[in-house]
Each structure stands twice: as C-alpha cells, then as structure tokens.
Assembly symmetry: C2
Homo-oligomer: 177 residues x 2
DNA sequence: ATCGTTGCAAACGTTTTGCATAAGG
DNA sequence: CCTTATGCAAAACGTTTGCAACGAT
C-alpha cells in the first residue's frame, strides 16, 4: 500500500563505532532502485524488512532477525522463507554482506559503513569489529602480485578477547571455526 | 590389527607450493600420540583415514573425502559418521584446520605446513593459497592494540583469479560467500 | 572385563523448494 | 490481467546423535 518513506534517518550510523561514510542514498532508496531496475515488486514485507534490518543491526543471523520480527498472526508478520529470500536480495543489492560462522550465515551492513574486519572470541563467542587501513593495502598488494582481481575479503582473527582473558573465564563449548 | 607404520614418507610436502616446515613427527605419529595421551584407541578406521587424509589432500570437504574412500561393502569402508568424528579428532589433534565456505566445512592440513591464506575465485570457485609474512605481523599488531589474544585467523580474498579474468569466462552460479 | 568405537538409522538445525493463493504493476 | 511474491508444508542439505554390537586395551 504505502510507499517506502524517503529521507529516513539512520540511527545505526550513529551507534556505529566508526565514522559514517558519505552515501548518496539511504539503504531503503538503494533497495527500491534495485527492485525497479530488475522489475521486482515493492511489497509490504520487503518494505518492513529493509526498515528493520537497516535501523537495528550490527551483524546478525537469520534467527536473530526473525526473533525480533512480529510473530505469526501479528501485524507485519513475515514468513521464514520470505526472510531468507529477502536477505538474499539485500546481498544481491549490495546492502548486506554475508559470511559463515559456526555453521550459520551471518549478515552485516555493507552499505554506508567503512570496511572493517572481526575478532572472534572463542570463549564468549562474541564477534567484534576492528578497522585497519593497512590491511586493505596489504590485501591489494598481495592480490596484485598474484594477478587476482579483488572483489572483497573476509578476515577473522580468532582467539580470546581482553575481557575473557582477564576474568579467567575458561568455559567454552566447541571452539568451532 | 596392524600398527600405524612409522617413518611414512610425505608426498604432500613435496607437492606443496611452499617450503616444507621442519617437523619432528609425521602426522601419523602425532595422531598416535594424541590418541594415547587421551586414552583413545588405535582403530583400523582411524589408521586408514589418517593415511588417506595426509597423503592426498590440499584442502577438501567431508564429501570430497568420502567420495574417494571405499564404498560400503568394500574393504576399508568407513561410515559417514565415523568420517565426521575422525575429522573432528584431527582438528583437535592440531593436524587439520577447519573453516566454512558456501555452507560447508572445509579442512586443510595444519601440521608440517607454513601458515597461508586463500584466494577464492567466485567464477571457477577455486580456492588457492598464498603466503604472506606481513599479514601475520599486521594481525599481531592489530590484536595487540586491541588486547586480543590471537589463536589463529582466517583470511580469504574473494574476487576473480587471473585465468578466469583473462579467458573472460563469465559464467557463474551463485557467487556465494 | 571394561570402556571406547563403530555403523546404522534416525534426528538435527538451517536453509531451500514446490505449489496454490494473493497482490503489485 | 499478467506475473511476481507470499505462506505453507515439506524437502533438502550437511552434520550429529542414540544405541546396540563390536573390538582394543
């Protein structure tokens, strides 16, 4: 029924630990454009999901997203298959990136954010971000040497975060990945 | 019945693109030691798998491994659950590392090999190795700044490999990851 | 004799699919 | 009106588990 609203503000850019990156469109606008360009339709479910995803999350998996959506029977309910289908579209549209951790897909905003990488603590299983310009430089150098055309990268440092190693919290489950 | 054979030679270390690393034990010996130290048993299945895995592979997933093992009814058949259980033991024993790509676990030797990382070509879906000392240095620097205790890392550069970009081979399936 | 190990079948958790109905263009 | 999108139920996927029989120590 209603259109995608324009000029929505982006609280997530303020809660982001890094400077916001200059972008010409909101994620919502960019998604609209993606849909039109492919002759896809602007449905209530897509409108609702784009709002939810780009106003709340850092990184998340499908279940975390679904848990904070309305339940079946309630207003704005979106079925599980539609959530998965739409997440795939967000990735296609360049709005999210996807990677895998412990056997599940993890998504994170890939638009309006600076490049960053992650620490993964094997004790608390927390994924935290860090930013390093040298890394992208080194990546490009390496790729150039191997004549590899870079599209993106995934860098995760696994180990134990500062709070886990200081509070000598030795429990863990599987130490996957 | 028979014991693990000693002093097995390691053809994989010669086919490896990098220099072999000095190791005091073969993977087979190391696995034996791991088993004894934990009171685990030296079974025919474990003997067979350790030989297969450490004489043939670069990186592989469970299905690729199973495909090249004897089928049910044949000599040396190992059931699927036992393959998974044993791969987990190899990881525990520090013989393999494991990571995830396109929704499945990928394993690679982690003993007697230098550290390395990967290019992943989204066209031919080939995973190829590269080695960079600067990367480990940079990783340690970054971790130190964030007081993160490094256990390992995972770095994958995604894009298009040289042969795919030169033979303008534009087909692809999903471009996951 | 004990207790770890195996194979089987069945379960698991996540993600995907086929299909009939609904709804955007 | 045509075609895409949705929800449902069920399947598919890779992986894990319970259990009885087996085999190493």
């Amino acid at each position: 029924m209603h259109r995608f609203s324009r000029n929505v503000n982006h609280p997530e850019q303020n809660s982001n630990p890094f400077e916001a990156v200059e972008v010409s469109q909101t994620p919502i606008e960019r998604f609209e454009e993606y849909l039109s360009s492919r002759g896809l339709r602007k449905t209530d479910q897509r409108r609702y999901l784009v709002e939810q995803v780009f106003s709340r999350h850092e990184h998340f998996d499908a279940d975390q997203l679904i848990d904070q959506l309305p339940r079946k029977g309630q207003e704005n309910y979106v079925s599980r298959p539609t959530v998965y289908r739409t997440l795939k579209e967000f990735v296609d549209a360049g709005l999210l990136r996807r990677f895998e951790l412990n056997g599940r897909s993890v998504y994170e905003p890939d638009y309006g954010y600076p490049e960053h990488d992650h620490f993964y603590c094997v004790k608390c299983r927390e994924l935290t971000e860090f930013q390093s310009d040298e890394l992208a430089q080194l990546r490009d150098e390496i790729a150039k040497q191997h004549r590899f055309r870079v599209r993106s990268h995934r860098f995760i440092i696994q180990g134990v975060c500062h709070s886990c190693s200081s509070r000598r919290n030795t429990r863990r489950k599987q130490d996957l990945v």
